[in-house]
Symmetry: D2
C-alpha cells in the first residue's frame, strides 16, 4: 500500500526562494525576494493532519545558485533526513536550476530514507493566475504517496531526479526521454 | 516505481454536485447547484500533460443521493474503467455521503483496474477561503500516484474506501481506526 | 468646490447586515450573518487619509427589518450626525428594503448636516465576483463628494432618497422616474 | 445638485500604461506592460448604467513620459471633450509623473467642459493586494460627481491638478499645502 496513514504526516519544507516567492515591492516598483511567502501560502491550505515545518535555507533566484548554495541545500536536506520526526521533505526552489539541485541531492544522498520533492512556480504566488498554490498542494500530496527518492512535482506531474528538464517554451518542467 | 509517466495522463472526472459546486444565485439570494463549476476550477490549474475529461453524472447535494443515484455513479465509473483511453478516475462529490459512495464503488467494482479517487469540499469553490481547488489539485495528483483501488483524497490525506469518516466537528474527512 | 479636502476625512459606517455581509458557515452548510465582514472588507482598501469608524447597529437580512429596526438605524444616524468628529455617514444595508430605510432617514432627519450614503451588494463580499468591494469603495468616495442629503451609492450610480428602486430583473438599484 | 443622473453615464477612459497595468511575463520572469489590463479590470465591475469606452493612448511607464507623450495625452483628452457622447474623462496613468500630466492638462485645456479624473495604482492590478480596482472604481464614481476640472482620484481622495504630489514614503498621492 502506497498510502502513508501516519497521522499527522510531518513534512519538513526547505524554502530557498525562486519565482514562487517573489512579491511586489511598491517602493522599488519591482518584484523582490525580500518577503518570505511560503508561510502565507501554506496558511491557505486545509490540512488538519499534515504538519509542515518551514525551514528557510536561503532566499535567492535559482539562477544565482552556485555550488556553495547547492551544497547548503544538500546539508539542509541531510539534516531533515536525520531528524526522527520528519516523514518527507519538500523543497521550494526556482525552476531555472531546480533540475541541478535535484541531481545534486540524488548524487549526495544516494538512497534517501524519505521522499524528497522539489517544487516551485512559473508565476509568483503573489501574482494573478499563479501556479504556486497548485504546485505546493500537489508536492505535499506527492510527498505523502511517493516511495523514498528525489523528485520534482510540478504542474500535476512527478519527475524523478536525473530526468527533470525545464521547457522554456511551454513554461513547465518535463521529463526527458531516457 | 509508483510514478505514472504516461504522457499525457488521462483522467475521467465524474461530477456529481455537492458543496464544492455550489454557487451564489443573486436572484434567489441563496447557494444553488444550478451552475456547474468544475470546468471553471479546472481551467485555473496548470497541467500541460494531464488531460481531464469531465462527465456530468448529476448535480445534487449528497444528502439527496439515494440508492438509485449511487448506482448511477457506479455505472459511470464502470464506463470510465471500460474506456481504453482513461488512466484514472476522479469523482467530485458532496462530503456527507462520500464515504457511502466510495463503499458502494469498492463493493461493486471489486478490484478496479485503475485508481478511483473521490474528493469534494467543505466550502464551495465560489466562496472565500474554499478548500475546493486544493482538494481537486491533490486528488488529481493522487490519482496519478496511487495503485488501483477506491480512495478519498481530502485535505492532503488519502483514505481507502471502507475507512472514510466525515468528522463534523473538525470539518474534514478522517480515516477510521480499523 | 465639491471636494472635501479635510484630512483625514472621517466617516462613520453604520453596519446593519444584508447580503453584503453573508458568509459561508461550513457547519450549517449555508450562508449566515453570524460573522461581521465589513471590517475585513475595509482592511483591503488603501485610504491613508480616510478614517472609517464602524458601528454595528444590527446584523439582519433587510427583509426582516421592520419599523422598530428602521427606527434604530435612524437613531444611530442621528447620533453620528451629532458627533463633532464625523464628516459623512455610510450605511451598509440589505438591498430589498434599502429604499425604505433611505426614505425613513430622509423623512426623520429632514436636511441632515452631512451626506448619508447607503450601500450594499447583490452578491456577498465573501462570494466570487462580489460587487461588495466596488460598492463600498464607491460609497466612501461619494460620501466625500456629495452635498448633505440621503443617497444610495450602488453600481457606480448615486440615487437620492425617495427615488431608489430595486430592479429585481437586472439585479441593481435604479432611479425611479419622477 | 451634484449628482449626474444621466443614464447611461458615458465615460471615455484613456489608458496610458503605468504600474496599474503591469503584468507578469513568465518567459521574461519580470513585470511588463505588454498586455493591456484595463479592460480586464473594468469587466469585474458592476455598473449597468455606466458606459466606459477605453481608448489606448500608449502603454508606458510614466517615468518614460516626456513632453511628446504628454502632448499626446492632451490631444486625446481634447478629442474626448470634443465628442458629443462623453460625460466625463478618466485617465489611467503611472503615479511618478501623474501630477505633471494633470498640470499639463489643466494648463492646455483651461476650463474643460467635463471632469477629467486621473488615476493609477501603487501595486499592479495583477498583483496581490493591489489598489488598482479600488482606485478605478473610485475614479469612475468621482468622474460622475465632480464639477468640470482636472483632478486625481487616488486612495479615496480627490486632489485638484496643481496640488498633486506623490508621497514616496507613504506610497500614495497627497494634496500639497497651498
Amino acid at each position: 500500500m502506497d498510502i502513508s496513514s501516519r497521522s499527522p504526516f510531518r513534512i519538513m519544507l526547505l524554502a530557498t526562494g525562486g519565482t514562487i516567492e517573489k512579491s511586489y515591492d511598491a517602493s522599488a516598483g519591482a518584484l523582490t525576494l525580500d518577503v518570505p511567502v511560503i508561510d502565507t501560502l501554506l496558511a491557505t491550505l486545509d490540512q488538519p493532519d499534515v504538519q509542515v515545518d518551514v525551514r528557510r535555507v536561503m532566499s535567492i533566484d535559482s539562477l544565482d545558485m552556485g555550488e556553495a548554495e547547492r551544497a547548503e541545500v544538500v546539508t539542509a536536506a541531510r539534516a531533515a533526513l536525520a531528524a526522527s520526526d520528519v516523514d518527507a521533505v519538500v523543497i521550494t526552489h526556482g525552476t531555472d536550476t531546480l533540475a541541478q539541485t535535484a541531481q545534486a541531492l540524488a548524487t549526495a544522498l544516494d538512497t534517501p530514507r524519505l521522499p524528497i520533492v522539489l517544487t516551485g512556480a512559473m508565476r509568483p504566488y503573489r501574482v494573478a493566475d499563479s501556479d504556486a498554490a497548485q504546485n505546493v498542494a500537489q508536492a505535499l500530496m506527492a510527498a505523502r504517496l511517493l516511495t523514498p527518492g528525489v523528485y520534482a512535482a510540478f504542474h500535476g506531474r512527478v519527475i524523478p531526479a536525473g530526468r527533470i528538464v525545464k521547457d522554456y517554451e511551454r513554461l513547465t518542467l518535463i521529463e526527458s526521454a531516457t
